[in-house]
């Protein structure tokens, strides 16, 4: 009966639940879904992590490559994030070129990386003007069930913190590169940004950590990236208007979540013995 009702009038179905202060999956409005993190899961990559938020699963793999730095930025390496949303993760996506959402997500992740300054690109430079590291951060979504960006940011930061780059010496005169894979250095990660997504249902109810269903039924989504008590990004791409107090509520929620997530990531990395 309930499933029938839900498929005929999904918004009303949600409204009935929310009127009682509970969501159909049993959470209240401010409750997050359980998060699980697994680091260093892919041995062929320089760094990797798998993050699960509820049913949303994102795998991050970081591959390193050597290249010449850009002429206008001779002291900088490269960090290239890419979000992939294969048809596997949700029926919304078709095979073919990256969807709009995948492109917007890649752009968001790239902006978050630069805003937070979590990796200093100067650290990736080996010999100015000659040689620098390129870190390809591939984020692949295995199951898209809402709050994709939260999972992406956690996975990316956790993966970056496991990156160990081989020692490289470059002889400028002879233009020779010597890579010693047995001698590895950890990549310096200066900051740990954490993203939190909120959905706005019926123009006024704020749903923390929404599922895919909640996101598609809601009238707007907002993502806040927090890093060490500061805001890195407040991204609200349209949707229903929010008042200042609602925004404040979201920021406070995001701050609390950041502490919890950082603790979790630290614990996971410690258990790895690094």
């Amino acid at each position: 009966m309930a499933t029938c009702y839900k498929s005929i009038h999904p918004v009303k179905y949600y409204r009935d639940f929310l009127a009682k202060g509970v969501r159909p999956d049993g959470r209240d409005m401010q409750k997050f879904r359980p998060v699980s993190i697994n680091v260093d899961s892919i041995k062929t990559a320089e760094g990797s992590a798998i993050v699960k938020i509820g049913n949303t699963v994102v795998v991050c793999g970081i591959k390193a490559e050597l290249a010449a730095p850009k002429a206008e930025e001779p002291n900088f390496g490269y960090l290239v994030p890419n979000v992939e949303l294969p048809p596997l993760c949700s029926p919304r996506f078709c095979p073919g070129p990256p969807s709009d959402l995948a492109q917007v997500s890649s752009n968001f992740i790239a902006e978050t990386l630069t805003s937070s300054g979590c990796v200093d690109l100067k650290d990736l430079c080996i010999a100015p003007e000659h040689l620098a590291w390129v870190l390809h951060c591939d984020l692949i979504c295995l199951d898209h069930d809402g709050s994709l960006w939260d999972a992406c940011v956690i996975a990316l930061v956790a993966a970056l913190r496991t990156v160990k780059l081989p020692h490289v010496s470059y002889d400028v005169e002879a233009e020779t590169t010597v890579v010693s894979p047995e001698k590895r250095n950890k990549l310096q990660v200066h900051n740990t940004p954490v993203a939190t997504t909120f959905a706005i249902f019926d123009d006024e109810i704020l749903l923390t950590d929404p599922t895919n269903e909640e996101e598609s039924l809601s009238s707007g989504v907002m993502t806040i990236v927090v890093q060490g008590g500061q805001l890195c990004s407040v991204h609200k791409p349209g949707g229903s208007p929010l008042t200042e107090s609602q925004l404040q509520e979201c920021i406070n929620g995001a701050m609390k979540r950041a502490e919890y997530i950082n603790k979790l990531v630290n614990m996971t990395l410690e258990s790895l013995g690094t």
Partner: protein
């Protein structure tokens, strides 16, 4: 019908106006200048993307200081079967950069404009149709996203498609001395710690959309929000002014049609 507003070019604005957090009525004309608002003009570049059987085309050119954007609105018109929505119009935004093909960060702008406009429009009045908003960047000297949103709103006003409210976007930046500057130019943006763009609705001045880069504290965020909100009042009154002028011109040209 062409209305031309010749106001003092923005680059003549005295430097002390920056950092002045309240924009005075006097500087408003310099702050937001519209040069052209007209009907049924064929745009060469963006229109080439679309089929020619569209019935309506309305456009607006929005110039904010040196940042210029042209927008065209088509619709409500026929929609592709895969985009059809049975209970509302499908709103799409196309963003064309000045040179080259649209890139990844242009998709972000597209999404923001599309979501903002589809919330502002009464989409349920036109089910099974499409409303396309084409934004062509002409020149970027800071605050491009804000200019694009304002241009889109002007084009929508001009199109006469029913809206719930108007939207106005204001950009600001935080410099290394923690000063907040409203509507910075690209030169000033180079020395910025963070830049923020807010979109407000015209009813309660709530936050429709927000995009930020760089790091800032919660206090700075709230302060810039407040300053941008004050700035948005000027844009809303400017919209009113423009519409009044267009109607005046219309009445002058066809006095018999006056109601």
């Amino acid at each position: 019908m062409v209305i031309r507003e010749h106001t003092a070019p923005g680059f003549n604005r005295p430097a002390e106006n920056f950092g002045n957090h309240v924009i005075s009525q006097k500087t408003m004309n310099e702050f937001y200048t519209i040069i052209d608002i007209r009907h049924n003009v064929t745009l060469q570049h963006p229109v080439a993307l679309l089929r020619s059987d569209f019935e309506f085309c309305f456009d607006a050119v929005c110039v904010q200081r040196d940042t210029a954007v042209v927008t065209a609105v088509f619709g409500p018109a026929e929609v592709k079967p895969q985009r059809i929505l049975i209970d509302k119009a499908s709103v799409e935004a196309l963003y064309r950069p000045k040179t080259g093909l649209p890139r990844v960060h242009d998709k972000m702008r597209e999404t923001l404009i599309r979501n903002t406009c589809s919330t502002a429009l009464l989409v349920t009045l036109h089910p099974r149709t499409s409303i396309s908003i084409i934004v062509q960047e002409m020149q970027d000297s800071g605050g491009l996203l804000a200019c694009a949103v304002n241009a889109a709103c002007l084009a929508l006003i001009n199109s006469g498609i029913a809206m719930k409210f108007l939207v106005a976007a204001v950009s600001c930046m935080i410099d290394h001395e923690d000063n907040i500057l409203i509507d910075p130019n690209s030169k000033q943006l180079k020395g910025s710690k963070a830049s923020l763009t807010f979109v407000f609705d015209s009813i309660k001045k709530n936050i429709m959309a927000c995009h930020t880069t760089g790091r800032f504290t919660q206090l700075q965020y709230e302060e810039s929000l407040l300053k941008c909100r004050n700035g948005s009042d000027k844009i809303f009154s400017f919209y009113r002014e423009i519409v009044r002028k267009v109607h005046q011109e219309h009445d002058r040209m066809s006095p018999t049609c006056r109601t």
